[in-house]
């Protein structure tokens, strides 16, 4: 049986792992190479690296960092942040990434998803969706997609965008709840379930993990194939194996 995946995420700014709360107020959380190595050793199922450095003239530096992290890990490695063209993506894949995530660029240029899927295969195209509730207290009013690190509402419904991304060739959806990100109040289960139901590709739930049961909820009630978390792992509140032991104890297949 296919195991549910636990994925630590490195948000990287100017070469350092940082952690934001609701996409702002960054705190230093270490060296990406060291963190990547540690997660590989701890039994993480994949590693995600999101470059949030604002300036775009640092492509080469990012590629070098990706190469150094890739050299240390023997698990799938996903890289995202500021990738805008097929050439940007080729550079990152050559540096050792297995998958890339597209966010703003995919919304601005949807055919980029298809171009990447054709060139590199759907398996390496993860479309990242940052979604926020239209009404914080009412899931039935749905979710809207935001870009630019959550600063800009693009006026597109999250479920529609997820479905479209799948049609265009996305291999996975990385779904972040902006309402929950950094709050530790749990994943947005209604959002996760709604997107999982809307698509046939794997959904990675992100944003809001704070307790062990949050992982369980996202993988069961939420229907997610994988769960992603950052600060919870970086600052050592939970190790990957603690999360896995907990899930195993509740009957969830993990590696």
């Amino acid at each position: 049986m296919l195991a549910k995946r636990i994925i630590p995420c490195l948000d990287v700014d100017n070469g350092r792992v940082v952690k934001g709360i609701r996409f702002v107020s960054l705190v230093d959380a270490g060296d990406p190479v060291e963190q990547g190595k540690r997660y590989d050793a701890e039994g993480a199922d994949e590693l995600t690296f999101l470059d949030i450095t604002a300036s775009s003239d640092k492509r080469d530096i990012v590629a070098d960092l990706v190469r150094r992290v890739a050299d240390e890990v023997f698990i799938p490695f996903t890289v995202g942040g500021g990738l805008r063209t097929v050439e940007d993506i080729r550079t990152i894949l050559r540096a050792g990434a297995d998958k890339i995530t597209l966010n703003t660029a995919a919304l601005e240029t949807p055919h980029l998803i298809g171009a990447c899927a054709e060139t590199f295969g759907s398996q390496c195209v993860v479309v990242a969706i940052d979604a926020r509730r239209r009404n914080a207290h009412e899931a039935s009013e749905g979710w809207e997609v935001y870009t630019h690190g959550g600063r800009r509402n693009v006026g597109i419904d999250a479920l529609e965008w997820a479905t479209r991304a799948q049609q265009l060739g996305a291999g996975e959806i990385l779904l972040t709840s902006m309402d929950r990100d950094g709050t530790r109040n749990g994943y947005d289960i209604e959002l996760t379930r709604a997107v999982s139901n809307a698509v046939r590709i794997p959904v990675i739930a992100s944003g809001g993990a704070g307790k062990l049961e949050h992982f369980y909820e996202a993988l069961t009630a939420g229907g997610a194939s994988a769960v992603l978390a950052a600060s919870l792992f970086h600052f050592g509140e939970f190790s990957i194996s603690e999360v896995k032991n907990y899930l195993r104890g509740r009957g969830v297949e993990v590696r």
């Binding site: 049986m1 296919l2 195991a3 549910k4 995946r5 590989d40 199922d45 890739a70 050299d71 023997f74 698990i75 799938p76 894949l93 050559r94 540096a95 050792g96 990434a97 297995d98 054709e118 060139t119 590199f120 295969g121 759907s122 398996q123 390496c124 291999g171 996975e172 046939r200 590709i201 794997p202 194939s225 994988a226 590696r255």
Partner: protein, 205 residues
């Protein structure tokens, strides 16, 4: 002479395959140079993305013929992911596309009721005591990412199986021809052990 050559035909993240062999202490090079590929002791045929695109890229370089000839000479060959699928006669991807035809059978898409691609860590159950599985635990987890699976005509080539909606051949072996549907280079210890086993094979798988 190069021990293991990973065939570079312009697809995929080959750096991780090279790095994984290096981590096992085996000499491996990624090469698109025909002389290197003809001289190597063993060949790895990688592959990601679309079956048709992989087959086209392989043929454009004349490597389809090279692989057939090397296999004929008895050189051990390991197909990885789409590289395993290419060993078969035909794939259903985008209409029927012919493969290398080194093994009989075809490549089919997973049922639409499943979440596809099949992405993540899944178990491999050995069906034969094959040298590839030496020191690899039974039902060990490996990392998979694929939407199509191989359906060999001859069940005797099935060396390992995995369950995802259907029980399918995730490892095949026939004489010097081997194939794995998962990515050993992304499968930590079990994957590295399997690559090491491949690098240590004698002339026969």
């Amino acid at each position: 002479m190069v021990q293991v050559a990973v065939i570079d035909y312009g697809v995929g993240n080959l750096r991780s395959v090279e790095k994984a062999f290096a981590a096992t202490g085996c000499e491996a090079v990624v090469s698109g140079d025909e002389r290197v590929l003809r001289g190597a002791d063993k060949l790895v045929l990688p592959g990601v993305g679309a079956f048709g695109a992989c087959m086209k890229a392989l043929s454009e370089r004349g490597f389809d013929q090279l692989v057939r000839e090397r296999v004929e000479e008895g050189t051990p060959l390991l197909g990885v992911c789409v590289g395993m699928q290419l060993l078969f006669e035909e794939s259903d991807e985008f209409g029927a596309t012919p493969g290398l035809g080194l093994l009989q059978g075809r490549v089919r898409r997973f049922d639409d009721e499943l979440v596809v691609p099949h992405v993540g860590w899944n178990r491999v159950t050995a069906r034969q005591s094959h040298a590839l599985f030496s020191a690899v635990a039974q039902d060990a987890f490996f990392y998979f990412v694929h939407s199509y699976y191989c359906e060999p005509k001859d069940q005797s080539v099935v060396a390992g199986e995995t369950e995802y909606g259907v029980r399918y051949a995730s490892v095949v072996a026939k004489a010097n021809i081997c194939g794995v549907q998962f990515h050993p280079e992304k499968s930590q210890e079990a994957g590295l052990q399997l690559l090491k086993n491949f690098a240590r094979l004698n002339s026969r798988c």
